[in-house]
Structures are given as C-alpha cells and as structure tokens.
C-alpha cells in the first residue's frame, strides 16, 4: 500500500518534470499540433502496425468527388500490444471517422486520437501514461 502511494506521488511529480514525459514523444509534440483536433472521414485503405509508429491510410472523398489519401500516424506496434488496444476492431474497407491532431507541416497527415467505427464503437488508446500507471498500481489497463 505504502509503495503504491509512493509510486503514485512519483508519477504525479513526474508530470512536472522538465524535459520528461511532458515532452515525451518529442516527434509527436514537434510534428503534430496537440492543441487542435481534426475529424477525418474516409475508407480504410491500409492498417500497418509497426515500429516506430503505426499508420492507418484513409481514402477521403472530397466534395468535388475526387479521392485523396490521408495518413494517420499512431503509437508503435509494441506499445499498442502492451496496452491491449483492440486495433483488430478496425478493418480495411471500413468507413471510419478518425479524430487526429493535425501535422504542423503536412496537410495529409495527423496523429491518432480516437476512431469512430462503422458499428458506432469508439476505438481509443489510453496512451503510455495510463499504461505506466497501471504497471505502478499493479492493475490491468482499461480505457
């Protein structure tokens, strides 16, 4: 019990740590504007679970009827596995709406936040902090 409290305090203080996990995934913070979210609706063309970042490719139909490609970057495959994110609920060919943090430099790229699947389910990823907390508490991660 005492150890859990100590770890909880350490985790809380870690959030204030300069250069620590507040800036974690610098490439995410640097590449994507985490103050903004954008909903992108399209058909899933590819789902690639890999390291260092997973990727979902969407085919998006524009108002003029033309089709463009939008890329959604996500956590590394190993992290998604450890966090037991149910990625297999999304399939190639599904029409989905993915909420992303837009890229700061590229208009065809965003970072995954949540996905609305065809059956109305929302696919989400609790992220590393939730996983780390679950390890500290000896509990199972749940989103």
């Amino acid at each position: 019990m005492h150890r859990k409290i100590v770890i909880a305090v350490l985790i809380s203080s870690s959030l204030l740590s300069i250069g620590g996990l507040g800036l974690a995934h610098h490439s995410v913070a640097a590449n994507f504007d985490q103050s903004k979210t954008l909903d992108v609706t399209g058909k899933v063309k590819k789902i690639e679970l890999r390291n260092p970042h997973s990727e979902i490719t969407l085919e998006v139909t524009k108002p003029d009827g033309s089709v463009t490609v939008f890329h959604v970057e996500w956590s590394d495959k190993n992290a998604l596995l450890r966090r037991t994110v149910p990625v297999n609920k999304m399939h190639v060919g599904d029409k989905v709406t993915i909420s992303v943090n837009p890229s700061r430099r590229l208009s065809n790229l965003g970072y995954f936040r949540t996905a609305l699947l065809p059956d109305g389910t929302i696919l989400k990823d609790c992220g590393f902090a939730a996983y780390r907390d679950s390890v500290a508490n000896g509990s199972k991660i749940t989103c």
Binding site: R3, I7, I11, S14, S27, N31, R50, F128, R132
Partner: protein, 233 residues
C-alpha cells in the same frame, strides 16, 4: 579413438561447458540492490539539467531540424541517452559474472558491457556490436551502483527527445550510474564533452520495474520511419 584422445575430448567439452555456463548464468553472487537491477524496466520520468553549451553547441542546436537531422528517422539510435528518452519501449538488465547485458527494445540495441578491472575503455569491445557508433564501454560496481564508462562515440546528434538538437563530438566521455531500489531504478548519465558543452551535461532517469516484461523486436525500417514518405507520395 585412443583413450588419450577420448580423455582430451571429454576434458575440452567440460571446459567449453564451464565457459558457456559462466556466460549464461546470471550473477548469482549479486545480492541486495545490485541484484535488484536485473529485470525489465519502463521509463517513469526523465529530467535533463539545463545544458550549458559552447558556441559550437549553440550553433549546432540552432541549425538542428527534427525532420531532417534526427537519426532515429533512419532507424539509427543516436545515443543511449536518446534511446532511454523514448518512453514506451522498455529496457532489460541482466548481470553476468563478468559482464552486464543491457537490452533496449528501441531500435533493437543489444549492449554487452564487460566488468573487467583494469580494462581501459579504449580497449573494450564495441558496446553494441550492431551500432559501433555508440562507442566502447566498461563497467564496474561502486558499492551498490553499477557504473559504466563509455568513450569512442561517433560525432553527431546526442539527443532529439529530452532536449532536441544536442550534439556530441568524438571526444565525449560518458558515465552512467544505475542503482535500483525495489521496483524503482535511478539512472544518472553524465556527458563530458568540452567541444559542445561548457560543463558536463547531466540527465536523470527514473524507471519502474515491469513485472513479467519482455523485450520485443523493434524491426525499424528506414522507409517506414522517415517523414519523407508522406511527402514523396
């Protein structure tokens, strides 16, 4: 086969078995906090003390572009400091009788550090044979603390995550100090590089034990890691 030959063969097999055993059995003699270092760990937090840069360090940092200059986007681990700054992939420590294995999931870095008194760091083998640019290391214990000295690191990017855009010269010497306390581990890394830093750069990491944790394959492919792939399409 003559009796002498058979005896020699048995003796050689026995010697080989002892040798293999010595290299695979964890350091059973380690006790207390030393023994606690063995295991798989995930990053809880890190803190880079404010870098005091030389003019060369300032200039290099100002010119750093995270989308072009980050070696990780070519699947190259810039440095152990950079590797340990990646929060998700864990690290594993296994102490042997005469060496320490440190396996970093990020970029599949497998490190072997000899624990050999009197071995000069310049004479040590490459610490990660797959990545010779990460230099040569030797280790020893200072009480309960595992201390690793590294030199011979190739000039280039030192960090892209804790403090993005820090560079290192090939003269840099690094001291890492690992100490465990139950389910927590503190790692303090000191980089001494007068070319880029006015005073040694110190980075602190706190790790949390990952019970039952395993190091998975990373299998990074440069064409899947770079942001160029989004522009090329």
């Amino acid at each position: 086969m003559s009796r002498m030959k058979r005896t020699r063969r048995i003796r050689n097999s026995a010697i080989m078995a002892v040798f293999l055993l010595a290299n695979t059995i964890p350091a059973q003699a380690q006790t207390g906090k030393r023994a606690e270092l063995d295991g798989v760990w995930i990053l809880l937090r890190s803190n880079t003390e404010t870098p005091k840069l030389t003019p060369a360090g300032e200039k290099a940092r100002a010119a750093y572009d995270f989308q072009k200059d980050d070696p990780d986007m070519r699947c190259i681990p810039a440095s152990f400091t950079r590797v340990m700054h990646t929060p998700s992939p864990p690290i594993e420590i296994r102490q042997r009788q005469d060496s320490v294995e440190i396996n970093y999931e990020f970029m599949d870095v497998r490190r072997r550090v000899p624990l050999k008194k009197g071995l000069a760091v310049k004479d040590a083998p490459y610490t990660a044979s797959k990545y010779p640019h990460m230099g040569r290391s030797v280790g020893q214990y200072d009480g309960e603390t595992l201390v690793i000295e590294t030199a011979g690191q190739r000039a280039g990017v030192l960090d892209t995550l804790g403090v993005p855009g820090l560079y290192q010269s090939d003269q840099m010497r690094t001291i890492e100090r690992f100490i465990a306390d139950g389910n927590m581990m503190q790692v303090t890394v000191t980089h001494d590089d007068p070319f880029y830093f006015l005073q040694p750069l110190i980075v602190h990491y706190t790790y949390l034990r990952l019970p039952g944790g395993k190091i998975l394959k990373w299998n990074c492919k440069p064409e899947e890691a770079t942001y160029e792939r989004f522009i090329a399409r």
